[in-house]
Structure formats: C-alpha cells, structure tokens
Amino acid sequence: MNNEEFLNTVKKAILEGNKDEAVQLAQRAITEKMDLNDIIENGYIPGIQKVGQLWEEGEYFLPELIMSAECMKAAMKIMQPELEKAQIDVHSAGTVVIGTVEGDIHDIGKNLVASILSANGFDVIDLGGDVKLETFIEKAEEVSANLICLSALLTTTMTGQKKLIEILKEKGLYGRFKVMVGGAPVNQKWADDIGADGYSENALTAVSVAKKLVEK
C-alpha cells in the first residue's frame, strides 16, 4: 500500500465509523514509523471533515456522526504519546471542561457535544453527569480551560447554569473562562439572560460556537 492508498484507507475508516480499523491504522503508522503529522493532516482530519460535510448535506445522521467522532478520538489517543515523544505539536483548538449540571444525570446531549468537540481538535475534559458547580470551576482552573460547557435537560436544573455564572462573578473569574450552555430547555434568550458567552442548539453548531468563543 503506498502512502496515498494508506491515507485513503484512513479516511474510509473514519467515514465508515470503523473504530477497530481506525485504531489499527494508527498503530500501523506508528510501528512503520510513518510521518504521523502527514497521516493526521491528510488522512484523519479530511476524513472527519467529510463526515461533517455529509452531515451538513443531510446524508449522515447522529449515529454516523458520533461513531466517526469516536473513531477519531480513539485513533488520536493511540498516536498522542508518539506525537509528544516526537515533539510534534498537534494544534489544540482549545481546552474544554464539560458536564451536565448538578441534579441532572441526563448526559446524552452533553456526550454528543463532548465527542464532536474532541473530534474537532479540542482537548475535552468530560466531568460526566450530575456535576457540582464548584467542580466545573475547580477543573477549569486546574487545566486552564478556555471554555466551560454546561448541559441541562431538566427545566429545574437549567438554573444551575445561571448559578455557575453567578459563582464565577463572585470569585472574580467571570470572563476568564468562556461559558457555553446547551440542553433541551435552553435557548439563546436564556443564554443571554444569564450572561453566558455562547449557546448551541445542537452538537454540530457547538463546534463553530466553541471555535468562535476560543478565538475571541
């Protein structure tokens, strides 16, 4: 298999959401001492970009999207130590602390956002569901996060998003971390009302919102 064929196989694995294949290819690239930067830039990333395109075109639905994102994540995880060893700096899109707020253990929407952000080059620290508000802030400080993402599915827990911003203000941390909110009962108006920096209606738009916030 020449280099071009190899890159196409990588792209195909991501496109088809074939995790085993995506991981094996990453492993093979390492073993055979291929140029990892080239593999990522010209194999994995175009693969996930094509997935995004197919989504935009209405061809792919969430199951395809999420599986490809998981593939990407798994392959990157394999290559990460090698990249560090070789001191290849794969540019991180930003560091994100994400979780579902206290009292709410619904985390399907949050998982989607976490996977897709991660597939798009963000360093994602997923705190899970039912996360204490203080934990978000502690973690964000610890990892010098760019962004805190808060999800809430219940109408009763969305107020946790408001409280987090209040706590940030009290601690003088408001503005240091950008705050993005989401979840079924949440909308742009709510985000504006509570002083959140960003709101995303779905997992896909979350990527562009997050990128914009981090660039600011």
Binding site: F61, L62, I108, P185
Partner: protein, 490 residues
C-alpha cells in the same frame, strides 16, 4: 341488544409481549439497576437482594418482581377536591389531563413562547377545571415569579386552589414532598382520608438506561408510604438512552418500570402504582425528543398494552405535539396521539395543551385538545345497537320523499350518537368568510377568554385556603423567599 364492542388497539402479539417481559426480567436479574438512594438500597437489602454498595447497583430476582406485581393493586380510584367525584383507573378507562411540565406558555396575544408567571398558572388551572373532557388537571406550567427551588410545591398550591379536579404532579427536590403532601392532607382533612381518597398522582422518572436518581427513588418511597399513587415515567430515547428498535426500547422500558414498581412495593406493600412513561423516538438529525413521532406513539401504545398484561393501571404522554405554534402539525400530531391512546385504553393520558416537546403550554391548544379528547371518547364508546330492530321500523312507511329529520327517532338519539364540538369549523364557506375567516386558533382564543370570564373559580373554603397558604409560605420562607406573589380572587 347486542353488546357494544369497545374498539381497541393492540400493537403487540402475545408471543412478543412475553419475550419482551422475559428479557426485561433477565436484565433486572443479571445487569440490575442503579439506585442512587440509600433508603431504597436498604429496602432491597432487607428483601435479600444483591446490592453492590459502591456502584449502587441492585440485581432484582424474578421472584421479587412477581411478588411485587401481585401486591400492586390492579386498579385505583382518584377523587376530586371535594372527595365526591370518583375516577377509576384500571381496565380500559380513559382520563385525559394536560401534559406537564411546560417551562413556557404560548402567549395568547403574540402566539409566541414566553416565561409563565402566577397569573398564567391560575388561568391554566381554571381553564382545565371547566374543560369537560379533561378529567384530571396537572401542575403543567412552571411559574417564574417564585424561587425555582419551590417551583414544585408552588404549582401544586395554585392547582389545588383553582381547580377541583384530581391532579397529576411530582417533586423536583426531595424536600418538596413534605409541603406538597401537607397541602393534599389539608384538603382532605387527614392523612387517612387522603390515603383513602387520593387527590394527586406523583410522577417519578427513572433516568434511562436503568437508573433511579436519589430524588425519584425517594418520591416513590415517600408516595408509597402515604398512599399517593406513583406514576412510573420511564423515558428511554431510541438509539440514544435506549436500544434503537421499538421492541428493544420496550424491553428497557419494562425493566425500568418494574424496578420502580418493586421499590414502591418494598416501601409499602399494596402501594398504588401506575405503569406509565414518556419514551421517545429520538431524532437522529436534531438530537431532539419528538413526542409527535408515530414511532413514539407506537412505543407508548405497546408499553401500555404490556402494562395491561401485568394487570396494572396505565399512563402515557400522548396527544401532544412538537410544533411550535397551533398549526396543522400541532393538530394532527395531537389528534393521532389522542386517538391512539384512547384506543389503547390508557388510563391516564397526559398531553393536552402541549407544544414544542413538552416545553410549552398553550391555553388555546388546551381548549382545542379538549375537543379532540371529546372525539376520542366518542370513538371508544363504539357503535351501539340502540333499537331492536335497528332500523326496520323506520322504513315501515318508506316512500319517495321519506326523510329522517322530522322523525322522533332522530330527535331521540342524535345527541347520544353524535357529538358537537364547539370550535371545529363545520360552517359553509360563505358564512365562515362573513364571520371573519377565523382559524381554529382565533376561535380558541375567544373561547379561552369567554370561559375564564363566564365561569368563576371554585376555591376551597377560607380555612383551607389559609392552611394551604401557610404551608406554601413556610416552604418559600425556608428557601429564602420572604413572601408569595399576590393572588387574585383570594
């Protein structure tokens, strides 16, 4: 007379029902459920179940499930605020109530969603009270002019003041149960009376897949102990928090509901339980939870059938829409759901008034949906043999020009055989034009105002009002809210 056939919808064959139940039992026995509540875990330990303390995971034996099913009453009765009108839940009895809980109200003037305040809750409760086909009310809107901490008890407070119908409600915090229970007791006069004549149903939702949070498990226990019926609201999303196939989601639904039922029976043997739910056909494009999807309704109808197979009272969220305004989608999704639910013989059907994935309550839609519910009731009444012979006598003097309009037979039966919706448009075109080309939403808007003007609220007596207010106020004050919003009519 030939007995009237009650039209009935059954989506599952017996073989499939049995297989779904078998797999649900197997999951409970082998994988178990997570229960994040110590009191519930202790109940399981006492019952000899294997409890993994660190992961809060319980495995439930088939025997315990069987015992719990056999101690759960096959039917129960709800009573109105006065304790006079009785509503049977069981068999194929059908009762409609507004869907809950909405975070917004569709503003009557702008027909746009906005946050609700106390006055909206009052209008909602009063309107529900005078709509003929809604047997129950629900605490269906959140009020934003009180602290969100007491939003559970406050909605019950308003509902109990402004409607006499039995009420479907639930807690948002463990501490919410006590004031809410006290309010119900205040209406009935004693805990014993409340247990004998339930006034409220408490909803409790497991978190799919297979988990009961501290709050919901506590609600099951607290309700069971004082005789409040618990409605088990399993809410798997196909392909997201539950298997993607309809049958697969049903397996998980049954497992989740059965685990809830066991908690209730362990807390108090014989506690009333309703086999309900709010599962959805998860939208793989938008990541949303459409209640108007036909597949959602298929899951609803099917689990209700399984609930009946267990000989339990049933509930479902049906007869509502994901539309954002009262448009054609709002009507057809509600219509399809209401009819399917009624044909499925679901005992408590929550949905009226709801738009936008249960986010929004519309009073206009509430009065429209009331008419859909009326049609559904007519449908399940079935086709009766009123006379014997059915029609031969009417044709005795048959001749050219025979008509039926002037026959006594017509006058005798037309009101029983046919219903007369008020808002549905059945006028000739020219008359419709001359009346201003009004849509059903326009007419509904007028109807809302007219009903609220015409029918004064039926409040509980002054003493009860005072007690309710004291309970509410002390709950509010405990939660840093020194006073309550002013309430008209009091």
């Amino acid at each position: 007379m030939i007995k009237t056939l009650r039209p009935k919808l059954e989506l599952l064959g017996n073989e499939l029902i049995q297989k779904i139940i078998d797999e649900a039992y197997s999951i409970l026995e082998n994988q178990g459920v997570f229960i994040e509540n110590e009191e519930a875990l202790d109940l399981f330990r006492e019952a000899g179940m294997e409890v993994d303390a660190s992961s809060q995971r319980v495995r439930i034996t088939a025997k315990l499930i069987e015992n719990s099913l056999s101690s759960t009453p096959p039917s129960l009765k709800m009573y109105d605020r006065n304790g006079e009108i009785e509503y049977l839940l069981g068999g194929d009895e059908v009762h409609f109530d507004p869907g809950s809980v909405a975070v917004t109200i569709l503003d009557s003037e702008t027909q746009q969603e906005r946050k609700a305040v106390t006055n909206d809750l009052i209008r909602f409760a009063r309107l529900t009270d005078c709509l003929e086909h809604l047997n129950f009310q629900s605490t269906g809107i959140l009020s934003t002019d009180v602290s969100e901490i007491v939003s559970d008890s406050y909605r019950l407070y308003i509902g109990l003041l402004f409607s006499k119908k039995p009420i479907v409600t639930g807690t948002f915090r463990v501490e919410g149960f006590e004031p809410m229970h006290r309010m119900l007791v205040a209406i009935r006069g004693s805990e014993k009376n409340l247990a004998e004549k339930p006034l409220a149903i408490f909803d409790a939702c497991p978190s799919s897949p297979l988990k009961w949070s501290n709050l919901t498990a506590q609600s099951l226990i607290d309700s069971a102990q004082v005789g409040i019926p618990s409605e088990l609201i399993s809410m798997g999303m196909t392909g997201a928090t539950a298997p993607v196939t309809i049958a697969g989601t049903l397996v998980q639904h049954v497992a989740e509901n059965l685990s809830g039922l066991v908690i209730c029976q362990l807390a108090k043997k014989g506690a009333p339980v309703i086999f309900g739910g709010r599962p959805v056909s998860f939208d793989m494009r938008n990541g949303t939870t459409p209640i108007g999807a036909i597949e959602t309704m298929m899951i609803d109808s099917a689990y209700a059938q399984i609930g009946k197979h267990f000989n339990l009272p049933t509930h479902s969220y049906m007869g509502m829409s994901d539309a954002k305004v009262n448009d054609a989608q709002g009507g057809f999704e509600t219509g399809i759901g209401t009819i399917l639910a009624a044909l499925s013989g679901v005992n408590v059907i929550s949905g009226a008034g709801i738009l936008d994935f249960i986010r929004c309550q519309s009073l206009e839609k509430l009065v429209i949906d009331n008419e859909i519910c009326g049609m559904a009731y007519r449908l399940i009444e079935g086709t009766a043999q009123r006379d014997d012979p059915i029609a031969l006598d009417l044709f005795k003097d048959f001749a050219a020009g025979t008509q039926f309009l002037s026959m006594p037979h017509t006058r005798k039966w037309y009101r029983d055989e046919h219903t007369f919706p008020k808002l549905v448009d059945r006028e000739p075109y020219d008359i419709w034009v001359s009346k201003g080309r009004k849509s059903i939403t326009d007419r509904a808007k007028e109807e809302v105002e007219s009903l609220l003007q015409k029918i004064p609220p039926l409040l509980p007596d002054k003493d009860t009002q005072k007690t309710l207010r004291e309970i509410m106020l002390s709950d509010a004050q405990r939660n840093d809210m020194p006073s309550l919003p002013e309430i008209d009519f009091l």
